[in-house]
């Protein structure tokens, strides 16, 4: 068994393929698919640090995504602060909310914690909708589509694809490093049995708060990058519960608790759902959602440990022979 946290050949090849896709000319539509896939994969990886590593299942990560998107955009559009700085401010604000949620929900477990995250995200969404003077409310905010590197607005889609690949690679590296570190081991222990972890000298509250903080921080960066690419944001696009569910669904389908799970989940599901939407959306409204839903049910029924788990079993079965 490879050491936890070490990089496998598969990961190197995958990264190589992604780099190639960035470098070669690809039609705009596919570049858009790649951009969204990379951002969502980064957020799914960030979500997994809380949900998969420590077991803090959150249906409220859209809150962090929205805080990142709004902070960098408002600072940029209204106050002329470059998004290169605004991103970090948004991430810190989201991290503060993440810490707060973990501390407030210290005694909440399972469904009760989930509900608290859902509620927190709704608070953020409603604030974004009604605090019109700051957020533009339902009308949203536009980022001027004038290419300027300082404003993080690029002329070429390829630059966006490269930036998003950088984002997902960075989040992946952080998740991987955590996995192999002592903090990671403490997270897994708290997830699997909090009483036992505590009896081994681990303060579970600190571990949970730490994981939520990191997770929220990284999610907010994804939100800021999405705003820079989309150049428009309103509460429906960056703060809706559907977004929160998606962020939770991708790692759940890909496989919880390892970095490769959310990555595979996103790399398979995001392009498929985008392609289905574009090809079937015009032919038969809603058909792509039905197919997508069926696919989700099949994965959940037959691969309870996710796509990563299924692939791993396939690989082990081949290399190992009879047990």
């Amino acid at each position: 068994m490879p050491e936890r946290g070490s990089i496998s050949l598969f990961e190197v090849v995958l990264f190589g393929v992604c780099l190639t896709l960035v470098a070669v000319p690809v039609p705009h539509f596919y570049q858009d698919v790649m951009i969204v896939t990379f951002i969502w994969a980064g957020v799914a990886l960030a979500w997994n640090i809380a949900g998969g590593y420590v077991g803090l299942i959150s249906f409220g990560h859209a809150a962090f995504f929205a805080i990142g998107a709004y902070t960098s955009t408002i600072l940029g559009v209204r106050y002329g602060v470059t998004p290169w700085i605004g991103i970090w401010i948004g991430a810190l604000l989201a991290a503060a909310l993440g810490t707060t949620l973990a501390l407030i929900g210290a005694r909440l477990r399972g469904p009760f914690f989930i509900l608290s995250t859902l509620a927190a995200a709704e608070v953020v969404r409603i604030a974004a909708l009604n605090w019109t003077s700051l957020t533009g409310g339902a009308e949203g905010i536009w980022i001027a589509p004038v290419p300027n590197a300082v404003n993080m607005v690029f002329a070429s889609r390829t630059t966006y694809v490269a930036v998003m690949l950088g984002y997902v690679a960075a989040v992946y590296a952080i998740a991987k490093t955590l996995e192999g570190s002592r903090y990671g081991l403490r997270m897994f222990a708290v997830r699997d049995d909090e009483d036992a972890a505590s009896a081994a000298g681990v303060n579970p509250l600190l571990v949970r708060a730490g994981a939520m903080t990191i997770s929220a921080f990284l999610t907010a960066i994804g939100g800021s990058l999405f705003a820079q690419y989309f150049q428009y944001l309103d509460p429906t696009h960056v703060a809706s519960p559907e977004l929160s569910f998606q962020f939770a669904l991708l790692p759940a389908l890909g496989g919880l608790g390892t970095a490769i799970g959310p990555l595979l989940g996103s790399f398979i599901i995001m392009p498929v759902s985008e392609l289905l939407r574009s090809y079937l959306g015009a032919v038969f409204q809603g058909l792509h959602l039905a197919i997508f839903g069926g696919f989700l049910i099949v994965v959940m029924l037959y691969f309870p440990d996710g796509l990563a788990g299924a692939l791993k079993r396939l690989g082990l079965g081949r290399s190992k022979g009879p047990p």
Binding site: M1, R182, L185, R186, F188, A189, S198, A199, G201, G257
Partner: protein, 242 residues
């Protein structure tokens, strides 16, 4: 002799039930104290109180001269108190070695060092052949030994064992008893709750009997085994030390 652990008038009530009722005892540094009693006598509750898992209704616990009543479990662990759980609580998705390495991380700085410590402890408790296995494949007896390994990997001063022999075969009980009996010579003080009487009566120089939350007897095994009150409450008429 200095007492490492001093429990005075400790009580803990769950509603109307007094699980632990005015219990006092002390454990000397380097001692091996056996704690026996019928089910529901309050043995595990006493452990939970000392290890900080629950707070007492009244009473005082002094460890190394410090009042530590009501501390948190991780504070207990960091101060050198280790405990095992009667019903094993493994980290279900981790391997055996990682289960133990987590405990070793209390003193080891790197994961690599912790795994090295864990390897030695796992070999000590006889789980070397399942070192890298996921805990989900372990038998009850192996899970009990995993509990012991995790406690030992904390390198504690005081260790609280809770029924670590249940589910073990007789030869396994023998080797585990040997291990437990060797701990005082390795600088550890041991309190040991056990229902496998032949093991504890043979290894522990001092036995304390709890019944309905109270201390019924406290002395050398031979005396305790002959005490009429103990026989009535726990051992049964036919108990012999053989």
């Amino acid at each position: 002799m200095t007492a490492l652990l001093e429990v005075s008038n400790l009580s803990c009530a769950f509603g109307a039930l007094k699980a632990v009722d005015e219990v006092s005892f002390s454990v000397r540094e380097g001692e091996l104290l056996g704690l026996i009693g019928p089910n529901g006598a309050g043995k595990s509750t006493v452990y939970n109180l000392i290890a900080g898992a629950i707070k007492p209704t009244s009473g005082r616990i002094v460890y190394k001269g410090r009042v530590i009543t009501g501390w948190k479990p991780f504070e207990a662990a960091r101060s050198g108190v280790a405990r095992t759980f009667q019903i094993p609580k493994p980290y279900g998705l981790l391997s055996v070695i990682d289960n133990v390495a987590l405990s070793a991380l209390l003193h080891d700085v790197t994961v690599a060092a912790a795994r090295e410590t864990a390897e030695a402890v796992i070999t000590d408790v006889g789980l070397a052949d399942v070192m890298e296995a996921p805990v989900s494949i372990l038998t009850v007896g192996q899970l009990k030994r995993l509990e012991v390994a995790r406690a030992l990997a904390l390198r504690p001063n005081l260790i609280l064992f809770d029924e670590i022999m249940a589910g073990l075969t007789r030869p396994e009980v023998m080797s585990m008893t040997e291990l437990v009996a060797s701990l005082p010579s390795r600088g550890m003080t041991v309190v040991w709750v056990e229902h496998v009487l032949y093991a504890i009566m043979q290894a522990a120089p001092r036995i304390m009997v709890l019944d309905r939350g109270r201390v019924l007897a406290d002395g050398i095994p031979e005396e305790v085994a002959r005490d009429p009150a103990v026989i009535k409450a726990y051992l049964g008429e036919e108990m012999s030390l053989a």
